[in-house]
């Protein structure tokens, strides 16, 4: 944490809107059914909601659009994005994306360009949704990684922590809207207690849910029966992967002129693993259903340093079959316990 200050919430929002000339400023806004990001010039300042989980759109889509031509030359100057109000689960999800897309020798220049040109303003969660379970997987419900600035809004004051030089540069001129007040011990304690309160609530709510590594072990040792049971409600729609902040599997599509399109794909779709001669180890729906959890909790857990499930709970919220993976894992845990 480099340094911090607080200003009035009104002043902060005004500051953000003033930056619209230079940046695309995305803020979390209450929509009909949920919170989602919108450009700040599309919404009224009071409709911006901070410290509340969580925008429907997973952060990955700002860096890996659903469909993108990845062979066109860069168009030169790029307008920078500022994404405000990102919860810690989504910030944590960038870890594995960075490992996959920024590790030499195969650096995805499109992903890198967007990462370089984005300023991330993460926020604490002071509330939780039904399926939030970040703390179960070791993630704190406030920004600890991958953010440039962190924001805590308490009693109409915006408490700002600067985490990177990029963040510091963005905040230049913030004193024009309101006089920043340096953080004292009391402020730090206030923020800490709010954060701790959310952690306690999450820990208590998910006390029976197995942790990340433990879930991997449970999956490895599991019998087919439980997967067959839960897969009965799965229709291979792929919504869980589309909304997941760490699922980024894609399809390469060819266009004339040797152009390539990178389009979001999913292991849940039939044919995902099929090879030309016809063999397909994910032909069976139950195998595809289980594959997603093997991938997240076993294989990627072994391959990457960063976590492949951040406990955001979006896949549970979005599933039209009503499949709750946490119910599945608790059932697996109880089977093991009974044995």
């Amino acid at each position: 944490m480099k340094s911090g200050f607080h200003i009035s919430l009104m002043g902060w929002n005004k500051f953000l809107r003033d930056q619209e000339e230079e940046y695309n400023i995305y803020v979390p806004v209450k929509k009909d059914v949920a919170i989602d990001y919108d450009l700040i010039n599309n919404c009224s300042l009071p409709s911006i909601i901070y410290n509340t989980p969580k925008p429907v759109t997973p952060l990955k889509l700002f860096f890996l659009p659903v469909k993108e031509n990845v062979t066109l030359e860069s168009t030169g100057s790029v307008r920078k994005n500022v994404i405000v109000g990102t919860p810690a689960c989504d910030l944590a999800a960038l870890g594995i994306l960075d490992e996959m897309y920024l590790t030499p020798p195969f650096i995805d220049s499109y992903y890198k360009m967007r990462r370089d040109n984005t300023i991330l303003i993460g926020t604490d969660c002071y509330d939780l949704l039904e399926h939030c379970h970040c703390t179960t997987y070791g993630i704190k419900p406030y920004p600890t990684q991958n953010h440039d600035i962190s924001l805590s809004v308490i009693d109409e004051r915006a408490y700002i922590h600067i985490n990177t030089d990029k963040g510091e540069a963005f905040l230049e001129g913030v004193n024009k809207v309101d006089e920043p007040v340096g953080l004292n011990e009391e402020d730090v304690e206030l923020i800490h207690s709010k954060r701790q309160h959310t952690r306690d609530r999450l820990d208590k709510k998910n006390v029976q849910l197995p942790g990340y590594k433990e879930t991997g072990e449970l999956i490895k040792d599991s019998d087919d029966a439980i997967w067959e049971k839960y897969a009965k409600a799965c229709v291979s729609c792929g919504a869980c992967t589309a909304i997941c902040p760490t699922c980024t599997c894609f399809l390469m599509i060819d266009r004339p002129g040797f152009e390539k399109i990178r389009q979001l794909d999913a292991c849940q779709y039939p044919g995902f693993a099929r090879i030309a001669a016809g063999e397909d180890h994910l032909k069976d729906l139950t195998d595809r259903f289980k594959n997603r959890y093997l991938c997240k909790y076993v294989w990627k857990a072994e391959k990457f340093d960063s976590i492949a499930c951040t406990g955001c709970g979006r896949c549970i919220e979005t599933c039209i079959g009503g499949i709750d993976k946490n119910e599945l894992f608790m059932e697996l845990a109880s089977i093991v316990e009974a044995e």
């Binding site: 990845v70 062979t71 996959m100 897309y101 020798p105 195969f106 650096i107 995805d108 220049s109 980024t248 599997c249 894609f250 399809l251 390469m252 060819d254 266009r255 004339p256 002129g257 040797f258 390539k260 990178r262 794909d265 292991c267 995902f272 693993a273 099929r274 090879i275 030309a276 001669a277 063999e279 397909d280 180890h281 032909k283 195998d287 991938c295 076993v298 294989w299 990627k300 072994e302 391959k303």
Partner: protein, 274 residues
């Protein structure tokens, strides 16, 4: 070797000639717009403009830098259309990618190579390399199987290597005809009377998944150690960069961590032969 900052962008190659190897298999002789090198067993992504891209392991010698040969079986959307093109066409290449054959582990050994159908393609490239390094090898035995005599590919190449000291080629076909003077039966029958010191031997298997499975089982039965059996795995390598996820096999991206694996590296993963 990525020639551009953009990992998705292919470079151009001109189809110099096309060789009919069998009714379903053709070899495309390609001349890249600049020198191109690969290690044997590594693969490339070949683009047919506007149609699609598919992974192939070159069948030419890795010691040749000015042209590259790719042997293609007509078996899917891209390969059907590749078979319809003519010399002069311009294709795209990305690569080379992945981990090829660990030649240093073959030195001082007797090398047994089991190939089936179009699986001869990567093996031919390997053979060129082994011929060049034959002083470092005890002997090389190639066992090759195809469905019928007319499905056997690289007939002139087989005649050539049969003349080379230390090299032997045995062939079988599932269904023989009156012209066939070699074995009849699935390719694993060739392993039955092999003159080889298994303790000082490594095996290479490349072919259709079902043949790889039974070939590997047979080699294990004969006493080969799991770590001495090298397999060219076939999965849906789409981006070839360890990103798109299509070729994941357990915690391996076959495109990046393979496509060549020793059997002990992959034996515990589900559905490796599918």
């Amino acid at each position: 070797m990525i020639t551009d900052d953009n990992i998705y962008k292919p470079f151009r190659v001109k189809v110099e000639s096309i060789v009919d190897e069998s009714p379903l298999i053709k070899t495309f002789v390609l001349r890249p717009e600049h020198d191109f090198s690969f290690k044997t067993g590594e693969f490339i992504e070949l683009t047919l403009d506007g149609i699609g891209e598919a992974p192939f392991t070159p069948s030419s010698s890795p010691l040749e830098h000015e042209k590259i040969e790719v042997t293609v079986m007509k078996t899917g959307y891209v390969t059907d259309r590749l078979h319809a093109i003519e010399a002069g066409e311009v294709l795209g290449i990305r690569g080379p990618f992945g981990r090829g054959y660990p030649l240093d582990k073959f030195y001082g050994k007797e090398v047994v190579i089991l190939g089936g159908g179009c699986g001869f393609a990567p093996i031919r490239s390997l053979m060129y390399n082994l011929i060049a390094e034959k002083d470092k090898l005890k002997k090389v035995i190639l066992c090759y199987g195809a469905k019928t005599p007319e499905d056997c590919i690289y007939k002139p190449f087989v005649l050539e290597i049969r003349k080379i000291d230390k090299f032997k080629v045995y062939r079988s076909v599932d269904h023989a005809d009156e012209t066939w003077e070699e074995k009849e039966g699935v390719v694993t029958v060739l392993l039955d009377d092999l003159d080889v010191d298994i303790q000082n031997s490594v095996a290479v298997v490349c072919g259709p998944p079902v043949m790889m499975k039974f070939g590997t089982m047979k080699l294990l039965e004969l006493g080969y150690k799991e770590e001495n059996i090298y397999l060219s795995m076939e999965k849906n390598m789409s981006c070839a960069l360890g990103k798109c996820g299509h070729c994941m096999m357990g915690d391996y991206f076959v495109c990046k961590d393979g496509p060549v694996f020793s059997y002990d590296e992959i034996k515990d993963y589900p559905n490796i032969w599918m």
